[in-house]
């Protein structure tokens, strides 16, 4: 039977070509756009997690309230003990302490006078302790333009644009001027060990990356940290898991009126990423629903046209004694076969493009130069197993639904008027 239907649609191209093309295009677009959006959003979320939010992040309540101002005077005290406690309670996460800091970076000339200065975007994390994995997590090796990662105290990586502007080279000294945790003025000289470029103007102009031990000494933050970030050891952010961790941790401090009590935020609610995550979650299903509706209408219309074209054929088949139900079922079988063919071709094309963009990506470096948003300069698609069916099933469903609607007309034919209709 399948062989018979296959031959029928193969030999009668009018019956199959247009629906197959429509389904192929629809399935292709669904898969390609879903894979691309997931890739781009996933990269942005991943980059935000690595640089800023972690999968979960612990701060003091007061710090969290004004976190955009980097209020290190409100940082976590006794951070080492808290980190150890987190490691014990939530062993699924790797916990790392970080300090962010603002201030001024001044570059001296040969006479020690300022030859240039700029606002600093300081980041301090475990650079010397390789087991923390922070250097790789922050993507430092690939961000380094010249030089190397700091290897000893008082060495720093600085923004490449800042270094170029002031004609600074490896081994030159820069002076950081800022405020300690206690509000005192602090100055520290650093030797430039390398320059970095992240593709974000604020960072490329003012990044100062140092080991957390240097920041602690410089900012008077012994056993203190601005933030403790938790990264799921499997490397993937699962909102349900993060929410459980967040709820469990915060439950211990719910009744605490201490403004310096720790509070945990998961990636989704501790940053602007929540909306993005929701968008990623809903995007695929939203697109599929729209696709099914539009394709169904188009294929319904195609089916109606085909029904008109095959009006005589159905009449003759009814006149020969074939039941209406049988004709309807063969029509559905034809639709399924056409749907499968279109969906397979569309899926194959869509997945091929996703895999291509996953490897090569689209470079938007020139478009975002000057931007202050932390986002990757190469946008890549991402292949996930659900792309195998996310277009296939709706493609098939749209074809079948479209034909089911148009095929109803068969039941409206009256055998008594067939000869008149067929003009026999």
């Amino acid at each position: 039977m399948i062989n018979f239907i296959f031959k029928a649609i193969w030999r009668d191209k009018n019956r199959s070509l247009l629906p197959i093309m429509v389904i192929t295009i629809g399935v292709f677009l669904t898969i390609a756009l879903s894979g691309y959006m997931r890739g781009v959003m996933g990269d942005m979320i991943d980059q935000t997690a690595r640089f800023n939010t972690g999968h979960v992040k612990v701060m003091t309540k007061a710090y969290a309230k004004d976190k955009d101002q980097i209020p290190n005077d409100l940082a976590i005290l006794g951070s080492d003990e808290l980190t150890q406690s987190l490691e014990k309670q939530y062993p699924d996460y790797q916990w790392v302490e970080r300090i962010r800091f603002g201030g001024l970076v001044d570059a001296p000339d040969a006479q020690g006078e300022s030859k240039g200065q700029g606002a600093s975007y300081g980041m301090a994390f475990e650079i010397f302790d390789k087991s923390s994995g922070e250097v790789e997590r922050m993507n430092i090796p690939s961000a380094i333009v010249t030089g190397r990662v700091p290897q000893k105290a008082k060495e720093a990586l600085i923004g490449d644009a800042f270094a170029k502007k002031l004609k600074l080279k490896i081994g030159d000294i820069i002076t950081y001027m800022g405020t300690t945790m206690n509000g005192s003025m602090t100055f520290e000289n650093f030797t430039i060990s390398g320059t970095v470029r992240f593709g974000v103007e604020a960072m490329d102009n003012g990044a100062v990356i140092i080991d957390i031990s240097d920041a602690r000494r410089m900012l008077d933050m012994t056993d203190a940290a601005g933030e403790i970030l938790g990264f799921s050891k499997d490397g993937v952010y699962f909102d349900d898991k993060a929410e459980k961790t967040e709820t469990s941790f915060n439950a211990k401090y719910t009744n605490s009126k201490d403004e310096f009590a720790p509070v945990m935020y998961r990636l989704k609610d501790g940053s602007d990423m929540g909306a993005y995550l929701d968008y990623v979650d809903s995007f695929a299903s939203m697109f599929v629903i729209i696709f099914v509706i539009i394709m169904s209408v188009v294929l319904w219309n195609t089916g109606l046209i085909a029904g008109l074209r095959r009006y005589q054929e159905f009449g003759i088949r009814l006149a020969l004694g074939e039941s209406k139900g049988h004709i309807y079922r063969t029509l559905m079988a034809e639709a399924m076969l056409v749907g499968i063919i279109g969906s397979v071709i569309g899926s194959a094309l869509g997945i091929s493009l996703v895999l291509f963009l996953q490897v090569h990506g689209i470079n938007i470096g020139n478009l975002i130069s000057g931007g202050t948003m932390m986002m990757p300069s190469v946008l890549r698609a991402k292949f996930t197993p659900d792309l195998l069916y996310i277009g296939f099933i709706p493609g098939l469903a749209a074809m079948v639904i479209g034909n089911m609607l148009s095929g109803i007309a068969i039941y409206k034919r009256e055998t008594a008027t067939l000869f008149k209709e067929l003009e026999v």
Binding site: T175, T179, N182
Partner: protein, 246 residues
């Protein structure tokens, strides 16, 4: 005709209201005369009330007119030896730990000094009020048992840190007892309260000034003068960059 009669009745009242307060310009000149001098040497403590702790920073400052100022921080250990030099609108800071002299400019001048409620701009501003603001007396009040005039000052030059000031001037001693500092937008930025007024030579001067940055939490910063000398001789080398590294 009725209008003219009404005007004649109101006019004396208006004239009387105008004469209720003295000339604002004269008052401001007298306030300037009390608060500024040819030179000043001030030993002071800055008590900074942070959200977690209270810190006291002591310093000695030398000022000549409104253009030259030199400060050396004496304690605590972290700040000891840090020096600041202001010449006109330029400010240099010397840090003994790095042996570097850094010039501050632009938005950095709006930053807090040592975590206090004072900005570098606040510390640099020594010009006379009469040169910067148009003044008018808008009312009177009693503060801490002392009668004051409420004076409103609006900037007449563009390079001022605060577009508008509201001052409560002690009627007898002619010094401000309270001040509110506003941005161009009308937002209240800082409040200062002067107290412990004492006589130094022939002038009254507040020994304690509480600065409150209204955009920050906390109790503000107390600036307490332990010793002040007016019109003392200050050697010229003090106001040179070389003195920063001495």
């Amino acid at each position: 005709m009725k209008k003219y009669i009404l005007l004649l009745l109101i006019l004396p009242a208006l004239l009387f209201a105008e004469s209720k307060y003295p000339d604002a310009k004269t008052i401001i000149q007298k306030v300037d005369a009390n608060m500024t001098s040819k030179t000043q040497i001030v030993k002071s403590s800055m008590v900074i009330h942070n959200r977690r702790n209270v810190r006291t920073v002591t310093s000695i400052s030398y000022t000549e007119g409104s253009h030259k100022s030199f400060s050396e921080y004496l304690s605590p250990e972290m700040e000891k030896g840090t020096k600041m030099l202001k010449l006109d609108d330029r400010l240099w800071i010397y840090s003994p730990s790095t042996d570097r002299t850094i010039q501050l400019s632009g938005h950095m001048l709006k930053q807090s000094v040592m975590g206090s409620d004072l900005s570098y701009e606040d510390m640099m501003e020594d010009r006379k009020l009469i040169d910067l603001y148009d003044a008018k007396i808008t009312g009177d009040d009693t503060l801490g048992g002392r009668k004051t005039w409420i004076m409103e000052l609006n900037a007449k030059v563009s390079d001022v840190s605060y577009e508008k000031r509201k001052m409560w001037i002690d009627v007898e001693r002619l010094i401000p007892l309270k001040e509110e500092l506003y941005a161009k937008s009308g937002q209240l930025l800082k409040k200062t309260i002067m107290s412990d007024v004492a006589k130094f030579g022939g002038r009254w001067y507040p020994k304690k000034i509480n600065y409150k940055d209204m955009l920050k939490d906390g109790e503000g910063t107390d600036f307490i003068i332990s010793d002040i000398k007016f019109d003392a001789d200050i050697p010229d080398y003090i106001f040179s960059k070389a003195s920063l590294k001495k």
